[in-house]
């Protein structure tokens, strides 16, 4: 399937029609108390080699015992990604020698994985405008259960390698995305959506910085109509932002290489985040034959659904796909649709809400506590609140302005006690987090709208009187521009404490007299 490259690629001229093809292999660490095949604990940043059972250390005579929670996590994820769940799946051994692989093989699912043939929908904004979003789909080839390896740290000064087996045996879901993506942005958006899904399901915490979500990209380029080019695998990508960079760099590198008459090697490359480029990895010299073999100590994994559940089964011993399906939480796409429907906000808005951790809750809390319509609240949350947080690299949780404070402010605005310009000023003060309420700041800075109509009328009259030329112009017919100028003058006079709508009405009334 050839995806025709339909828009100009950022960064260089659209000269030669090279079609980039990007596939992804994503490893998500399963969120569970214990490991995939043994009872030792799963915990981030524990003292080295403190979470290692006899089986994890590959002591002779130890046997794997499958962790039920890991199976459920994989089934949940498979269902969320619209996969077919294989009622019978198998475990295999993948052999290679490495210091962080104590048994000399990894237990994985090569022949028949637990879930296949799914799809993931994700959205991108076109041309950096939040107003235009397009939905894309990437096919999920399969999801398989497998063991994580330990960690090895190379200490060159002392010519030694330090091995920490805490992570050895932790459950992973490998999610394979078909090469349906065409650039870094698509890859990043797809991964971001997968991350949100996993976090919603709870099957993985999917925090890239803690190694709970690892992405390898397969990149190649070819001319349309021709077969796919040689692909490279890019590893060592530590964030979604770096994923986009790495993929785009690699596409560019390959394109330039081929344009200059060179060839692409089928190799593994590492992304160097400092230099912003990919470099060949020395580890993998030549192709490895993993000598796959069925894992003889684990019988086939059989899953049931309500229809085929045998009569006398012990509920503890059985994983029921239908039971899991019934208990799936709302996925991000469903959540977004509900937000749009419930609050009348735009799809792009719901996107941003879900994209920031905690922002949806913040928004909903504000809406609950204010009379302002959600359609208006959203602007304050996305434009004012969010941009401030971004500027200061704060998370929603760290916001010095709580939903209550913002709701309170918006209420003042809604009751027309202050103008929106004033409201922005108040917000700027609230950021300082000095514990004052909006009302206190308004009083302090004297930002209240002038409520006394008579006072306002007097000011309007004064302004009109002082602007004879403008009045003549108005009579001659250039209404709007003059009117706006007059409104501006009134605002200046009142130091922003006049309601522009009311002022316009008063001026118009006076001028018509």
């Amino acid at each position: 399937k050839v995806t025709f490259f339909s828009r100009p690629y950022k960064g260089y001229e659209f000269i030669a029609p090279w079609v980039p093809v990007v596939g992804l292999e994503i490893h998500a660490q399963i969120s569970s108390n214990s490991k995939l095949f043994s009872g030792s604990q799963v915990q981030f940043a524990a003292p080295p080699n403190s979470l290692v059972s006899f089986f994890d250390a590959s002591l002779p005579g130890t046997l794997p015992v499958l962790n039920r929670r890991c199976v459920e996590a994989a089934v949940m994820t498979g269902l969320a990604l619209n996969c077919s769940i294989n009622k019978k799946s198998l475990f295999d051994r993948k052999h290679y020698f490495y210091a962080d692989l104590p048994a000399g093989y990894q237990i994985t699912q090569q022949r028949v994985p637990i879930a296949v043939n799914g799809r993931l929908s994700y959205s991108l904004c076109i041309d950096n405008k939040m107003s235009q979003m397009v939905t894309k789909t990437v096919r999920i080839k399969q999801i398989q259960l497998e063991q994580d390896s330990g960690k090895s740290l190379h200490d060159d000064t002392r010519s030694q390698t330090l091995v920490d087996l805490n992570r050895a045996g932790v459950g992973l879901m490998e999610v394979v995305m078909e090469p349906d993506m065409c650039c870094g942005e698509e890859a990043a958006a797809a991964v971001r959506e997968l991350q949100l899904i996993l976090q919603t399901l709870g099957s993985s915490q999917a925090v890239m910085a803690e190694g709970q979500l690892r992405v390898d990209a397969n990149v190649s380029v070819h001319h349309p109509g021709e077969p796919y080019g040689v692909r490279t695998e890019v590893k060592n990508i530590n964030s979604i932002r770096f994923l986009a960079k790495a993929v785009d760099y690699e596409i560019q590198r390959q394109t330039e290489e081929l344009e200059n008459g060179g060839t692409i090697l089928n190799e593994t490359r590492a992304f160097d985040s400092k230099l912003g480029c990919t470099v060949p990895m020395r580890d993998k010299e030549g192709k490895q034959d993993y000598r796959f073999m069925p894992e003889p100590n684990l019988p086939p994994l059989i899953l049931y659904d309500a229809k085929y559940l045998p009569a006398n089964t012990n509920h503890q011993q059985v994983v029921n796909i239908d039971w899991i399906h019934e208990r799936l939480p709302d996925l991000p796409s469903v959540k977004r649709a509900k937000l749009v429907e419930q609050y009348g906000i735009l799809p792009e808005h719901s996107f941003t809400l879900l994209n920031e951790d905690g922002l949806t809750e913040f928004f909903e809390n504000v809406v609950k506590q204010t009379q302002m319509k959600p359609k208006k609240v959203i602007g304050w949350v996305l434009n004012d609140l969010l941009s401030y947080l971004k500027q200061h690299s704060l998370t929603v949780k760290e916001s010095p302005v709580s939903p209550f404070l913002l709701a309170d402010l918006l209420n003042l605005l809604e009751k027309k006690e202050i103008s929106s310009t004033a409201a922005k000023q108040v917000l700027a003060e609230l950021w300082k987090g000095e514990g004052k309420t909006a009302l206190e700041i308004v009083k302090e800075k004297e930002l209240e709208l002038i409520q006394d109509q008579k006072e306002l009328e007097q000011i309007c009259q004064a302004v009109i009187d002082g602007q004879e030329n403008e009045v003549i112009m108005m009579v001659l017919g250039r209404n709007q521009k003059v009117l706006n100028k007059l409104i501006g003058l009134v605002q200046r006079e009142t130091q922003g404490r006049s309601n522009p709508v009311l002022v316009k009405q008063l001026l118009e009334k006076k001028l018509s007299e």
Partner: protein, 486 residues
């Protein structure tokens, strides 16, 4: 045989010590019973070597489930027994501690019959092997140093030495007894084996060991109920099958005759005895070779010197350390099987070798299914091709050749996962034990052992007469006047 005497006394002392602390309530059926365990079972706090340099000094931190079960019953562990390195072999001659000597080498029965080649020859020179790979366990039971021993059986490793040492050797159905803690050779065929002096004892030990183990996902979930064997008198309800393919090339005339006599015994007692066919028997050796070496290559991958066991001093790089460790730690037999196994698992060979062998394995297993479905209850076959050969003769051929020859009669039961038992039958012309094998239906150990027990009673296999022991204990080990089967 000073060593035997020492061990026998030690056994008495151990029994005494075992009883005193537990004064009052016996822990279980095996309370105070001395047992031995093959050195490929993990024993907590006790060195577990698999007779290999790779694990010399390795002290396991946990007990194998079967060991734990025996200890929970109050059994007294006398020691770990010798074997072929990593259970690879059929003579118990290729372990790092040296070969195991068959106690029958020192029996009056053997010495009477053996003619030294010349007077100057060392009397000891023609001692015979135990068979393998659980030779140490078989020898321990055979020489009265313990009442029962654990072996393992992957291709015949419990039944073969049982036959050569004149003891009962039971291979249970795959999935009945936990393999947790049994250092694996071939995960899909290994079972813990039971060696005892009589069939009743085997049933008792089986009763303590069988049952689901959550730590071993290949054990069946069904509840297992220990059983007592009935004293069968009437075998007329049974149908005994005689598989013609077990008249294998190399089967000695002596054993052939014995086999025939045994069949007649059943016939005369009223049982239905019929010839059956297991047509794929002749492919089992090659099939076993492929599957066994493939799993060995995989199972041995963990021995890299990093976490436990032998580690080479070579430290130029991780890879060179691995290579040196494995070269130093493993003997030729193990390394040979690793190389073969890796070859068969290569991507380009996997389909033609490994997959094909799995298919052949299914055919072999189906042979048995068909025969048992046709109304046959138990199969009767020889266990070995010959009686035990002298060590000096045995080592003239390499391990692989010997295994190929010796496993032919026992291996198919491992392929099919079926229960099988060696019952000592008679002494050969050379005064050495010969046993016959019964193979039963999956999980029908009770039926299998019931028939075996009946047979055992008929043949009255003679007791080993160990000369030195006899000298010290007049009257304890009486010379049995047996109407012996041969």
């Amino acid at each position: 045989m000073k060593k035997t005497l020492y061990v026998a006394h030690f056994a008495l002392i151990a029994v005494v010590f075992a009883i005193i602390p537990n004064a009052g309530q016996p822990l279980g059926v095996l309370d105070g019973i001395p047992i031995a365990v093959k050195d490929n079972f993990s024993t907590a706090g006790i060195e577990t070597t698999c007779a290999s340099n790779m694990l010399k000094g390795y002290v396991s931190p946990y007990n194998a489930t079967v060991v734990q079960k025996l200890l929970d019953q109050g059994a007294v562990l006398l020691g770990k027994t010798n074997l072929d390195e990593f259970a690879m072999g059929s003579g118990s001659t290729d372990g790092v501690f040296g070969p195991v000597r068959n106690p029958w080498s020192y029996s009056r029965q053997y010495k009477e019959k053996s003619v030294p080649k010349s007077h100057s020859e060392d009397k000891d020179a023609n001692w015979v092997i135990t068979g393998g790979s659980s030779g140490g366990s078989a020898a321990a039971v055979s020489s009265f140093t313990c009442f029962a021993a654990l072996g393992s059986d992957t291709g015949g490793s419990t039944r073969n030495p049982a036959a050569h040492c004149g003891v009962v050797g039971l291979k249970p159905t795959y999935g009945l007894i936990s393999r947790h803690g049994l250092i694996p050779l071939v995960n899909s065929m290994d079972v813990p084996g039971i060696l005892t002096r009589c069939v009743d004892d085997a049933a008792v030990v089986l009763g303590s060991l069988a049952g689901h183990d959550p730590k071993d996902s290949t054990t069946i979930q069904d509840n297992f109920k220990p059983f007592e064997l009935p004293n069968l008198t009437d075998v007329s309800k049974f149908s005994i099958g005689i598989p013609k393919e077990y008249h294998a090339p190399g089967l000695s005339n002596e054993i052939l005759a014995l086999w025939s006599k045994a069949a007649d015994l059943f016939k005369n007692a009223g049982a239905k005895v019929i010839e059956v066919s297991l047509p794929h028997t002749r492919y089992s050796i090659v099939c076993y070779h492929v599957l066994c070496t493939a799993e060995v290559a995989s199972n041995m991958a963990r021995f890299d010197g990093l976490e436990y066991g032998h580690r080479s001093d070579m430290n130029k790089s991780t890879e060179s350390m691995y290579a040196a460790t494995r070269r130093e730690g493993f003997n030729d037999v193990v390394r040979g099987r690793i190389l073969s196994g890796n070859y068969f698992l290569l991507k380009q060979n996997y389909e033609n070798y490994f997959i094909k062998a799995q298919k052949v394995r299914r055919l072999i297993a189906n042979d048995f299914v068909k025969v048992f479905r046709s109304g046959v209850d138990i199969l009767l076959t020889p266990t070995t091709l010959n009686d035990a050969v002298p060590y000096m003769e045995f080592i003239k051929e390499d391990n692989r050749t010997r295994s190929t020859q010796d496993d032919i009669l026992t291996q198919a039961a491992n392929m099919a996962g079926l229960p099988a038992i060696n019952v000592p039958t008679a002494l050969s012309e050379r005064g050495l034990p010969v046993g016959l094998q019964f193979i039963g239906r999956s999980f029908q150990e009770k039926q299998l052992l019931t028939v075996a027990k009946w047979f055992e009673k008929q043949v009255k296999f003679p007791m080993i007469q160990l000369e030195e022991v006899k000298r010290h204990d007049h009257g304890v080990f009486q010379h049995q006047k047996s109407a012996s089967f041969s």
